[in-house]
Each structure stands twice: as C-alpha cells, then as structure tokens.
C-alpha cells in the first residue's frame, strides 16, 4: 500500500485524517483518490503550481511527475510550497 501524508490544512479538509493508505500504480492515481483531490488539482486536472509532491523524499519533478510509477511500498508527502505570510 502507498502511504500518503497530508499537511495540516489538507488533513483538516479531509475530515481530520493526515494519512491515507491507498492502492495506486502512479502518483496521479494516488492523489486522485484523496478526498481533497480538488485542492491538489485545479478544475482542468492540472496539479496546482504550488503543491509539491515527494515520493520517498524525492520531488516528483525530478522523476516522471504525476506519471511516476509506484510499486506499493512508497510514502508520498504533500507540501504546500509557499513562502512569506
């Protein structure tokens, strides 16, 4: 199972859950299953620009983005990439 870890604001929006365990073959498949998928993707299906996704600590931009494949042992961490107030 893939483990997905959410930051505090997304966890609140997900009903208080900060961790999900999901069956998924790609990063996108994992993220689409989340109850907060509408906050991660915009209405046209694009990953929001300031949402960073890490697979076992590696930014998916350094791999294959949303199509990065998963074997089921990974941990995905979502981080909002915002600076300032």
């Amino acid at each position: 199972m893939v483990v997905v870890l959410l930051p505090a604001l997304l966890a609140t929006e997900a009903g208080g859950r900060a961790q999900f365990e999901l069956d998924a073959r790609t990063v996108e498949q994992a993220l689409r299953q989340l109850p907060i998928a509408d906050l991660v993707f915009d209405e046209h299906g694009a990953l929001r620009r300031l949402v960073n996704v890490y697979v076992d600590g590696t930014d998916i931009r350094e791999r294959d983005g949303l199509t990065t494949t998963l074997d089921g042992s990974e941990t995905l961490r979502l981080v909002g990439a915002i600076a300032g107030g």
Binding site: T12, D38, L39, H44, L50, G85
Partner: protein
C-alpha cells in the same frame, strides 16, 4: 436572537456574537483556520454560513456550514470550464438569492466570473453571459485582480441582478443572469483615455437599498454615486463634505434609503484612510452632504479598509460594523454616532458581514 458579525481574515474566519442589545460580544474562531476569507455571510433564509475561502496553494473554494461554523462542506467541482480557457483564481463574494428561491445563491470570483447555485451552495454553474460578454476584451484588472466582487439581487424584482467588476464596471441582468447590460452612464473613469466609456469603470462596491427598488449606491475608484433608476444613470456625490472621492467600503441604513456611509481614503496611490484618522462619513440626504460620524474611532490612524470592510445590520437602531487591515473590528449600535472596538489583534480583516440566528 443572536446577532453575528463575521470577520473574514487572511488567516481564517472569526465570529462575534451578541444579544440583540449588541453591547457585549463574544469572539469565536478562527474557523476555517489558515484560509483567507474574502467574504462570508449568514444566509437570512436558513441561517447557514457560506464562506469564500481561498488559499495561495490550494486554490479557491466556497464552503457551507449548517452548525454555525463547527463543521464545513466544500462545494463540489467549483471551477471554470476548459473551453473558457480560464482557471478560477479566487472566490470573492457570496450573495443569497431572493426569499422565494431558498436554494439560490450567487458567487463572484476572479477572473471576472459569476456562478449561481440552485441547491444551497452544493454545486455551482458559471454564468456564461459574464464569461462571454461582448465587452469582456475591454475589461482590465484592478489592483486586486479582474474580480466580480459586488452582487445584488433586485429588491421586489428577483429576476434582476446587479454585479460590479473591477475594472469593468457595473452590469445589470433582468433575466436572472442570462444577459447583461453595462450600467455605467454618468460614472467616471478618470484614468482612462476616454473618461466616460461604456465599460471599464473601476467600481469598488455596489449596494442596492433593501427597501427601495431601483436605488443603488456605489463607491468607485473615481467618486461616490447614487442611482435611482436601477443603474441606468448615476449621480456623482462627492466634493460636498467628503475629504476624498476614493474609497472602498460602503454601508446603508435599511430604514432610510437616503442614508449611506463610506470610509474615504487618500487615493489610488496611497490606500489608507484620509486625514490621518479613521473616519466614517454619513449622508442623510441622498449624498448631497456628508458628515464625519466617527465618535470613538481613533483620531490618529493610518490603516486600510477594504471593499468588504463595512456591514450594516437589519435592526433598529441600526448597527454598523467596520473591519480594518490592522486586525480590529469596530461596531456602532446607534447608526454610527459612537463606535466601540469589539475585536483586536486579528489577522488583517478582509471582510465583515452580519446576520442573525434565532
């Protein structure tokens, strides 16, 4: 009865509650912690809360609560269609529909978009008549973006809707949003090569008087205006007691259509209150004259008040509420004669609204 004042801030929603006397206020919050609340309302028809909750990372939402803010539900699939080639950036203003259509709500957003819900805010449909308006290529974003921020449903005419878009101007629909006509005759656009264009006016706030059909008030980038013919023509009202023609906030008195309140600011290039003081100005003669109505407000102040920064209740005597970017909320329960600070040290206040819970 509980009187509620909703203070939307950059870091969540706060609720101030009082009995009808409005003498003692209790603060709750933050609700929707971490979200920027550009506007929130108590729906007078069912008591539900609706909030325009935005986040720089997680986007634009509108959320509903049926338990006075304890729990919230995000609207489903809120956004603009692919063929519009637009992406919803922020939700700015939510407005209840008429009493005879209890599920109807309106929502304005950035970039210059309007949505209607017919199911109490669960789902929203973008209004194509705004997205595809024939003058849209002449609309220019203001400092806050290209935003639909003012929405008013016609008094006694529920098919009529007014919207204000910066900087496109005021528009009126007589068919519940299907078609829209510019309503800017007499409204200046001094920054424009043509100072009296059909569209392009930088409207800052439009309010319809709740008791008198066809009477509108407008605070604009270039003046304060009143219309007595549903926005067909406007009369400019500044230069007769106001220290500046520039401002954002606007308030009305539900008991008297000739009464209005505004908070003048120095100007477009320096958006803080005029004369180095926090000054609310009141007219009681339809805008022919204005007087300072600021007892209890700080006489030395250098603060900003945003377009959603003032609200008035539906009680007698009239209650007025003022939210500041410095994180304070002031209230008056005598029509603006005396003001009291009812909250301080909040995050910057983006919006103030009021309603009642029975």
């Amino acid at each position: 009865m509980t009187v509620a004042v909703l203070a939307g801030t950059r870091k969540g929603l706060f609720v101030l509650e009082s009995e009808e006397s409005r003498t003692d206020w209790q603060l709750r919050g933050p609700l929707l912690e971490g979200w920027s609340i550009l506007h929130a309302i108590v729906d007078p028809r069912d008591g539900a809360l609706h909030a325009c909750a935005n986040h720089p990372v997680y986007g634009a939402t509108v959320q509903r609560s049926d338990d006075r803010g304890e729990t919230w539900t995000r609207a489903e699939e809120l956004g603009l269609s692919e063929d519009s080639e637009l992406t919803l950036a922020r939700t700015w203003h939510v407005e209840p529909g008429p009493p005879e259509r209890p599920g109807e709500l309106w929502l304005g957003g950035d970039p210059a978009c309007l949505f209607r819900s017919d199911d109490g805010g669960r789902t929203w449909e973008a209004i194509r008549g705004v997205l595809e308006h024939p003058t849209r290529d002449r609309w220019m974003p203001g400092a806050g973006g290209l935003i639909c921020h003012s929405i008013q449903v016609g008094v006694h005419e529920p098919e009529r809707v007014y919207i204000g878009i910066s900087a496109a101007g005021t528009f009126r629909s007589n068919d519940r949003g299907e078609t829209w006509e510019p309503a800017n005759s007499g409204v200046a656009a001094d920054f424009n090569p043509d100072p009296n264009p059909e569209v392009g006016q930088c409207v800052h706030k439009v309010l319809a008087h709740p008791g008198r059909a066809d009477r509108l008030w407008q605070q604009n980038h270039c003046g304060v205006y009143r219309s007595d013919d549903a926005g067909r023509t406007w009369e400019r009202l500044d230069g007769n007691g106001l220290p500046s023609d520039f401002g954002f906030a606007l308030g009305l008195d539900h008991r008297d259509p000739d009464v209005a309140y505004t908070v003048p600011m120095i100007g477009a290039e320096n958006r803080v209150v005029s004369d180095g003081r926090l000054g609310v100005y009141r007219t009681a003669d339809g805008g022919q004259s204005w007087n300072l109505s600021a007892g209890g407000l700080p006489e030395h102040a250098w603060v900003g008040v945003l377009r959603e920064g003032m609200a008035s209740d539906q009680l007698d005597p009239l209650g007025l509420y003022l939210g500041l970017q410095s994180g304070s909320v002031f209230a008056s329960r005598d029509g603006g004669e005396r003001w009291t600070e009812i909250a301080a040290y909040l995050a910057p206040v983006l919006s103030v609204e009021t309603g009642v819970w029975s």
